[in-house]
């Protein structure tokens, strides 16, 4: 009676009698109450499904499992055998046609566009649905107490909001209403006032003169950390700055150590501690106006560093992402004029289609004798069919976007046959295609992204192992107590972060958030391997739970996997940046950490003759006190370096 091959044989399914399509099925669900149903229909076990109709509309459907009317046996089962998951009872035998009709009459269908609200209660055992305000028409009881799973899939298909008074009740929001609410909340979130943005923008325009200093001054006000005094020639490289800073910190440490002995300080903490973490607010996304203003009359992007700084700070407005990403992913060179880009685009389009033709023109016989190609193709097919299928852009049977996804990945196989296709690549491509909506552009952006992370897909996984090792070292430096805990639980190898790193957190965030995170990471600011600091930021926030609950090997993995879709991208970015500043200004910064983050190595002790002068000529903020700066209504505590050194 069931068309069992819905996912694999869409064509065939259409021809059969089955006109609906199960997107999700949950067995072991008891119909507890249903308005207008005779009592005999209740308390029977069935399957709760999310079903797609031929016209694309969806509904929740409850179907009875047993085709016979409920006997006392089932009634007993309801409460008594709740905790034992017995063998499933699927009675398919018996008088099919008449029973089937009888059962059909008992099916309950709730169209999703009529659904007003739903509620999960009784410790994930009960779920209620309402299509009319104030009335719960249907109540379902989940035998296995796993209503949260159905809930999470249902939430993929309807837009919901939690109600204020009851956190277990969800109200279905109409799409247009929701966007209003979202817009409003974004406006509320906007931490920069219009004025400040302009101030910031003016400062950004000064990038040519003092690129790094200007940004730091404007955004973080971490004057004492990186920005101190004017550059000698007004055009200092970041590396020089950092080098200066490091030597300065070192001498500060030496100074304080000697002072401490002679003066009133008696205890010097032997264990080096990090300076306090500055809290740095996120900025607003790069807007259309700003982006337009950044182009010279011929269409070249001027002030590349400034653009990157802006993007690092606040990301890119969604409306111009499709354009900005091409630059960030090295598809479009920043310095090209509009005319040059036009011919580049033409060239890249031809190149793409000639590579596409290479595999498209492969005959069946060739394929048969080309196992390496065949294997790659089969892997691509399998993964395309399970990439972001809950997103409307990729949902449903015969979705043309799936074909494009597949074509791009297959063409990439021809572009880079040695690397071929590796699981995870479809995850990387999906948001790019979703945004670009264009095969050729998505492909070249994908190529650019892969260029940045191709070592993730090494045959021997050397790239992944190196990153996990680097992460371990960063953890030991930044949050040694957690690193120690993990090591003691056999988790020191950080393997539980594998998914994060392989697809750059794609599985941990919604599409909207992953776009924000990726564009920030693509800027390459403020240091190399900033994505590892994102890992550190996430783990640091979980530190208390992981340690206080004494989580072991399995619990750590579970906890980390379950963080998916529960993370706030802005908070994490802000924390990661704070951690970066902690690292670069920490007096005991080791070469090992410098290498990971691409910072210049420490100067040899005999070189810095001039440091004391640099130090005293530094800036005018008091050297041993905490300074609270007001920035855009936020109070930011900045402890001067001398204090940090003292703390160390």
């Amino acid at each position: 009676m069931s068309c069992s091959s819905v996912e694999d044989l869409p064509e065939q399914c259409k021809l059969t009698h089955k006109i609906t399509h199960d997107l999700f099925t949950q067995d072991g669900v008891l119909l507890k109450a249903s308005l207008g149903r005779p009592i005999t229909d209740l308390n029977s076990i069935g399957m709760l499904c999310i079903v797609q109709n031929m016209d694309g509309s969806k509904c929740i459907e409850w179907r009875p499992n047993d085709l016979i009317t409920i006997d006392s046996d089932t009634q007993d089962q309801e409460w008594a055998v709740v905790n034992t998951i017995g063998r499933r009872q699927r009675t398919l035998s018996g008088n099919m046609t008449s029973d089937y009709e009888a059962a059909r009459a008992r099916i309950i269908r709730i169209p999703l566009d009529e659904l007003k609200s739903f509620k999960v209660s009784r410790n994930n055992q009960q779920m209620q649905f309402s299509t009319k305000q104030g009335v719960w028409q249907n109540t379902c009881y989940f035998q296995h107490g796993n209503a949260e799973i159905f809930l999470s899939y249902l939430k993929n298909h309807v837009k919901t909001a939690k109600t204020r008074h009851d956190r277990n009740t969800y109200v279905v929001v109409e799409p247009n209403v929701e966007s209003q609410v979202l817009n409003k909340s974004f406006a509320e979130l906007d931490i920069f006032t219009e004025n400040t943005t302009d101030v910031v923008w003016n400062l950004v325009s000064n990038f040519k003169q003092r690129p790094y200093e200007t940004t730091m001054e404007a955004f973080s006000k971490l004057t004492d950390i990186v920005y101190y005094g004017e550059g000698v020639n007004g055009k200092r490289e970041m590396s020089d700055e950092v080098a200066d800073l490091l030597t300065k910190s070192m001498s500060a440490l030496e100074d304080t150590t000697s002072i401490a002995r002679s003066e009133e300080y008696e205890v010097i903490n032997v264990k080096p501690t990090l300076p306090p973490r500055p809290s740095i607010p996120r900025g607003t996304p790069l807007s259309t106006e700003k982006w337009d203003g950044l182009q010279d009359p011929e269409g070249r992007i001027t002030e590349v560093e400034g653009v990157k700084q802006l993007i690092f700070r606040g990301g890119v407005a969604h409306s111009i992402r499709h354009s900005v990403w091409k630059y960030l992913l090295d598809y479009y060179p920043w310095k090209m004029t509009k005319a040059e880009l036009k011919s580049l685009h033409k060239k890249k389009t031809e190149e793409y289609f000639s590579m596409k033709l290479q595999w498209r023109s492969m005959t069946e016989g060739q394929e048969l004798r080309f196992s390496e190609y065949r294997d790659r193709k089969s892997l691509v097919e399998k993964d395309v069919n399970r990439t972001d299928r809950t997103h409307p852009f990729f949902a449903g049977d015969n979705n043309p976007n799936l074909v494009v996804l597949q074509d791009i990945l297959m063409t990439y196989v021809m572009y880079n046959f040695d690397l071929g296709y590796v699981q995870g690549m479809s995850d990387i491509l999906a948001p790019l295609l979703l945004l670009m909506g264009n095969e050729v552009d998505s492909f070249w952006c994908f190529v650019g992204f892969m260029e940045k992370i191709s070592s993730n897909f090494d045959m021997d996984q050397a790239g992944m192992k190196q990153q996990l090792l680097n992460l371990q070292q960063l953890m030991a430096f930044i949050t040694p107590d957690l690193a120690k805990h993990l090591a003691s639980k056999d988790s020191g190898n950080m393997y539980f972060c594998f998914r994060w790193l392989l697809v750059w957190f794609k599985r941990e965030f919604s599409h909207r958030d992953i776009m924000r995170l990726w564009e920030v990471l693509w800027t390459g600011l403020p240091c190399a391997n900033f994505h590892l600091l994102i890992c550190v930021a996430i783990l640091d926030a979980e530190k208390d739970v992981l340690i206080s609950k004494d989580y072991g090997f399995t619990e750590v993995l579970k906890h980390v996997n379950d963080l998916s879709m529960c993370l706030d991208v802005d908070i994490i970015l802000s924390t990661a940046e704070g951690i970066y500043h902690q690292i670069v200004s920490s007096p005991h910064l080791s070469d090992q950490i410098r290498v990971i983050l691409g910072l210049p190595l420490a100067l040899k002790p005999d070189v810095p003759e001039t440091e004391p002068t640099t130090f005293s000529n530094g800036n005018d903020i008091g050297e041993t006190e905490e300074v609270t700066l007001e920035y855009n209504g936020h109070e930011i505590s900045v402890v001067t370096k001398t204090v940090w050194a003292l703390l160390a």
């Binding site: 091959s5 997107l23 063998r87 892997l379």
Partner: protein, 209 residues
Amino acid sequence: MAKTYDYLFKLLLIGDSGVGKTSILFRFSEDAFNISFISTIGIDFKIRTIDLDGKKVKLQIWDTAGQERFRTITTAYYRGSMGIMLVYDVTNEKSFENIKNWIRNIEENASADVEKMILGNKCDLDAKRQVSKERGEQLAVEYQIKFVETSAKDSLNVEYAFYTLARDIKAKMEKKQEASNPAGARSGTHQLRDERPKPTSWLARCSVL
């Protein structure tokens, strides 16, 4: 915290990419099926406690990424596993052929006495079948491993497979306990002989279902 179980068994699902490992696990742990599954990246596990001959047995079932490239990472999780489900897809010849490679992989990375079982999944897709049930059975005989065809989608034999594997592990464990106890050593070997004829019963059961 009080222990809520008598035994904890660590099980592992391995097999080629896309054979349905995650679906099998989802069916067993949640009794549900989702048409839009996503590929597993890295590793994850689920828990279900079952009742086995009066004992509460907590099954911790690990799900792994199937692609060969990730094996260096996933094999790290083989350690300590007491039972392994080797899964292939009856509609995919290659996944069946690779079972031999997966067995070799187990021999290299898991403990020698790990219990194994072969699952031929997606047996609901009869029209697309490439591997007959007989070939599956033959392979199982060759390696002396139990075998069953399953459908995570139609919930066919999934429960049976996990219960069987868990029961075998429990029997082996209890035997070991008896063996370490001098008085029970003799009866332990005797029980081992009793266990052997069982394969006929799973074959019979499998065709009934």
